[in-house]
Symmetry: C2
Subunit: 350 residues, 2 copies
DNA sequence: TTGTACGCGTTATCAA
DNA sequence: TTGATAACGCGTACAA
């Protein structure tokens, strides 16, 4: 059963009421200056009276322009992703766009599926935060369709499309440098899933710092990017290092919890750092020292880049990398050579 | 400049390639059983070969059914709202719907504006979590349009439309009862903005408990629903009560922070409870005793109700109220009559 | 400045 | 079972 037109008020009824042709009504809406003042007023009154609103669907079909952009993010429940989305929306809504936001639940197949759905919804552009480290069917679908697309925060490195991200490598290197400079000698790096571009970059930053300073006493562990994973990984540690580096804040917070339970004090016995500066990190006790990313700004710029693409402009920079800041709080403590109590304690424990 | 059709692959090109009429192609897509096996296969091969996907816009124009539902929530950055949205999406996406999610930033005017925008985008249904306690232009716009609409979590009480929410009153009453039963004699209730339906309901629950048990020693303070607000309100307290009740978890956590700084221990000196059981509350130290709402489920049911509306069914229950659970953690301590140390201390402080 | 008529891509009706 | 054709609501080239 075809859905009943709940609203028969279309351009035609307005035209009738105003006693003009539909083209005049259309013109009043789209280029009022090309209509005589008299008719313009008549039409406007008719529009007002009927409460007429142009049917966007019909409009889109006709013009080929839907004024809708889509987002594909790994998890619509994660505030960080949504802050990016908000950034992009804030830029694009001033240009008259609407938004469809889809979450893949970190599922790569879902990602391609959503892409196709968005395509058939005729979105004009798409902003994607990748769910995995590789997605071959994704690339194919994009190229076939010719949509405008921008990667945000994470990208598929084999797809050459504009990307707006954060310098994960430099950020992680910087905070690890800080640990080395404050006298830490032994390290554990707690990574999450190792497949996304950002996860790889962060680990690379950690490794760079280790190499640069000639530190040999480090260990890299893989888990997930969750509180629980940080907790469990830490609990399994045979040897407690002087510093624990979390692949993100959640992991770091989990590590702190585990360390506390194991009888270690942060930062007196062990320093811990994270990455993200998520909402809660400033309220945790002790306050987590971490790396802050310009999340909102990243989205905002991604929106801007997409808009350049949409308006047919040449995008000067295909890749935009934003820098991070270190947020000093309370989980890092300066250590010096005489401070060997910890190491001894570890010997006993292990 | 009209946008160039990037895809000339439409139903017509499929028909040509398969050597059939467009009606046959349409039928293969919408009612395959009504097409002979031979043609069906030919058409399918053509579709595959061209990578054809039906244009949803054209489809919508023709059928009047867009298969899109919109959400209006106060803040797209708040994980709680998004978990509701996810619940609704999970239900509705199995029915083939897409989603447009809009945030008002707690701005009521924006709310009406977004509603109108969604309407002109021809969404079939809308799920709304109100941004304020009243919005008169909202009601009018809905009634004029005849959209299917469901309120989720918060509603405008003067608009008679289906509502799915949580029993805020009973939840708050229950946890306050718990405090009374565990020997607490003096209370401070820290509310957020007092204009939303849920905020009012929670306060009502607190008051009911006070009255029921004949407690006179209580105080209600208004601020915002933020950590900072809970912190500031608490800092200004002249007299520290035996129990602080937060209008939500954020406020409660802020109160704990303030109490700690003021030299009070939670829960030894003061008990604190919240409402929401937000993500971080289980990790806070001490773990926050609070009220858990079935957030996801609420969204799921809202989705279900909307679907009933959309498929023209009679919705049996216009109002669905879900019950809450108390989550016992570490911020409440049993007190007894001999435990008067605190009161004395307070006398001195104030 | 205004109106007529066509087409956007699809589904639905009707004949064949 | 299949095909030709009329809508859906709008924008726009072209004619007046």
């Amino acid at each position: 059963m075809a859905k009943q037109r709940n609203n028969s008020i279309n351009i035609k009824s307005v035209a009738q009421l105003a006693g003009v042709s539909i083209s005049t009504v259309s013109r009043v809406i789209n280029s009022p200056e090309s209509v005589s003042e008299e008719l313009r007023e008549r039409v406007r009154k008719a529009i007002e009276e009927l409460g007429y609103r142009p049917n966007q669907i019909a409009r889109s079909l006709r013009t080929g322009s839907t004024k809708v952009v889509g987002f594909i993010i790994p998890d619509i429940t994660n505030p960080a992703f949504l802050l990016m989305v908000k950034g992009a929306e804030d830029y694009l809504k001033r240009k008259g766009y609407m938004f469809i936001v889809c979450g893949t639940d970190h599922n790569i197949e879902e990602e391609t599926k959503l892409l196709k759905t968005l395509l058939s919804q005729s979105v004009e552009g798409i902003i994607v935060t990748c769910s995995g480290g590789r997605n071959s069917s994704f690339a194919k679908t994009i190229q076939d369709s010719g949509v405008k697309l921008v990667f945000m925060d994470r990208r598929y490195e084999d797809i050459d499309l504009p990307y707006v991200g954060v310098d994960n490598t430099a950020g992680m290197e910087k905070i690890t440098d800080l640990l080395v400079q404050t006298g830490h000698r032994s390290f554990v790096y707690l990574s999450g899933e190792r497949n996304t571009s950002s996860a790889k970059e962060r680990l690379r930053g950690f490794m760079k710092s280790m190499k640069k300073h000639g530190v040999k006493d480090y260990q890299v562990l893989y888990g997930r990017f969750t509180f629980e994973s940080g907790y469990e990984l830490t609990k399994k540690l045979k040897k407690i290092p002087e510093a624990v580096v979390g692949g993100n804040d959640l992991v770091a917070l989990g590590a702190i919890e585990a360390l506390n339970e194991m009888g270690y004090h942060v930062p007196d016995d062990v320093s811990v750092v994270g990455f993200d500066d998520m909402f809660y990190s400033k309220y945790s006790k002790p306050g987590l020292t971490t790396v802050r990313q310009p999340i909102y700004e990243m989205g905002y710029i991604a929106g801007k880049v997409l808009w350049q693409l949409l308006s047919g402009k040449n995008v000067r920079k295909r890749v935009t990398i934003l820098q991070t800041d270190i947020v000093l709080r309370e989980t890092v403590k300066e250590r010096n050579a005489s401070d060997r109590r910890l190491t001894e304690k570890v010997e006993v424990v292990s």
